[in-house]
């Protein structure tokens, strides 16, 4: 059992079997082995996080492309719906329009959650097709009001879709940022420090080995000298 009085300054503290920074430890082969195992593990973890980061970035870019076209569609659909609303409102007058509007039922919008690369994002479920929307319009037969209501419902669908995409972009971006920080921390701080520590321990152990070798050689020559 060899122990060294020289402790490595960039030391490690064991915690749950993992290396962390903080205390001085001895430079022993056992410690060296464990450190090498930890380095390998951390490098694998860094690779996985990099892959996650790349996937998250790709997903955000895809969503951002969708976002821009979704927003344009949503705005266009709302403008169109307002045009039809204006026609119906003019035709029926304020009191007539208010009356037919009161016969429009509520739109059933439900929320759910789905995951994208482990990130929870909201999912909205609403009647997307004309036939599914009939429920809220079943009392509305005035032709211009009905057409305006259908346009509004379709537009609502596009805004809900946009909201879904925006919320997804926000959450995935936060996760991307955190993952990036972890990757950077591992790449720029943890791995270099660990590598440096391993190198210093290796050098220390080599030095000790060399010292032992020379000591053993001297002992041998002394013993041979006495015999003669």
């Amino acid at each position: 059992m060899r122990s060294s009085s020289k402790n490595i300054t960039l030391a490690i503290k064991e915690s749950d079997g993992m290396a962390a920074f903080g205390e001085r430890v001895s430079a022993t082969p056992g410690i060296l082995l464990r450190l090498r195992e930890q380095l390998e593990f951390i490098q694998k973890a860094k690779n996985i996080l990099e892959m996650k980061r790349d996937h998250l970035a790709a997903e955000v870019n895809k969503l951002l492309r969708d976002l821009s076209s979704n927003r344009e569609e949503a705005e266009k659909s709302l403008t169109e719906a307002y045009d039809y609303l204006k026609i119906s409102y003019s035709k029926l007058g304020h009191s007539g329009f208010s009356s037919v509007a009161s016969s429009v039922g509520l739109v059933d919008v439900r929320t759910s959650v789905r995951t994208i690369i482990g990130v929870e994002v909201p999912k909205l479920i609403w009647p997307e097709t004309v036939s599914e929307q009939q429920g809220s319009l079943e009392n509305l037969l005035e032709p211009t009001a009905r057409q305006a209501a259908e346009k509004l419902l379709l537009s609502l669908g596009k805004w809900l879709k946009l909201a879904e995409v925006e919320a997804s972009v926000e959450r995935i971006s936060v996760e991307l940022m955190m993952t990036n920080r972890k990757v950077n921390a591992l790449q720029n701080i943890v791995i270099p420090n660990l590598t440096q520590l391993i190198t210093r321990i290796e050098e220390q152990l080599e030095e000790e080995d060399l010292e032992d070798f020379f000591k053993a050689k001297k002992m041998k020559s002394i013993i041979r000298g006495k015999r003669h």
């Binding site: 003019s90 304020h94 009939q134 079943e138 009392n139 037969l141 032709p143 057409q147």
Partner: protein, 332 residues
Amino acid sequence: MTHLLRPDEIQKLVNADSVQRLAEQLMATDYSSEGELQGVAEMSRPRLEKLRASELEEVFLRKMVSRLFFISSISPVKVKEFVLAYSRRFEFENIKRVIRAKHSGEKVEQLIPLTKEQTLVNFEALLEAEDLATVIKMLPERRYAPSAESLNLYNEYNTTLVLESQLDKIYYRAVLLAAKKLKDRDVMRLIGMEIDVRNILTLLTMNVRKVKPELVEHLIIPGGTLRGGRLVSMVQTGIGEIQSLLEGTPFARSVGGAVEAIGGEIEMYRVEAALLAPFFERVKSTVNKSLGISYVMGYLIRSEIEAKNLIAITMAKQLKLSVDILQDIVLV
């Protein structure tokens, strides 16, 4: 009909820049005696700029109602019976508004203004009613109450359309009964055409907007000039065939162009305008050739159309709707 607005006056209003300008133009017409418009000339500029289309709407509705009931007050007995039956349309429209509001739990925004002398229905009590069932119980049974069948359909399909349609049937039955006693073919033809317009619009909307086809026969109002079979086919047939279904009717030519989809979309306001155009032409020709009861009928219809035109123009000015579209909505 000299106090009704002439086509050139309507056109001038269509081209007005704003609600305020429109109100100023109306000061030179029969509307200048109405409450709000009396004050328009004296309004300060800031107040005038706040003039809303909905304020003028009430003026137009009151004028329309008062004209119709004035005619009934000066008519001989048989004609009075008919004019009163015809004028009940405002009452029925108000009942429909209450029904819609109670069904959905909303408040009634505004009713067509009717004085106590102009209606048998206690609308204040109807508005206070807790729910739709109470409203129906409160309606004077003989004249207004929907049948048990329509109530069952309402409960089955959870739609007020059947109740509204039932009210329309009650209304038109009474009008046709009163009109028969006058023995005037032109009056019967005009009422029949009006019923046709309502039925065709209902069925076209059901076809184009894919509304429940099983309700069709309950929504058709009897008494029109078009027979039930032809009407029912309008729900099932392709929209392009509608014109051939209307062959031989006054509506065929005008509807043909309107039901063509523009950019894949059928504009319902154009379809409605196309259906109303031949009806309005018939009204004008009836008025021009007769001085009897059909002249009175023509006056009643034109008064109502004038009110609707003015409401449409005023709202369109406030909403900055294009003049092209407004020209389609307004009947001149």
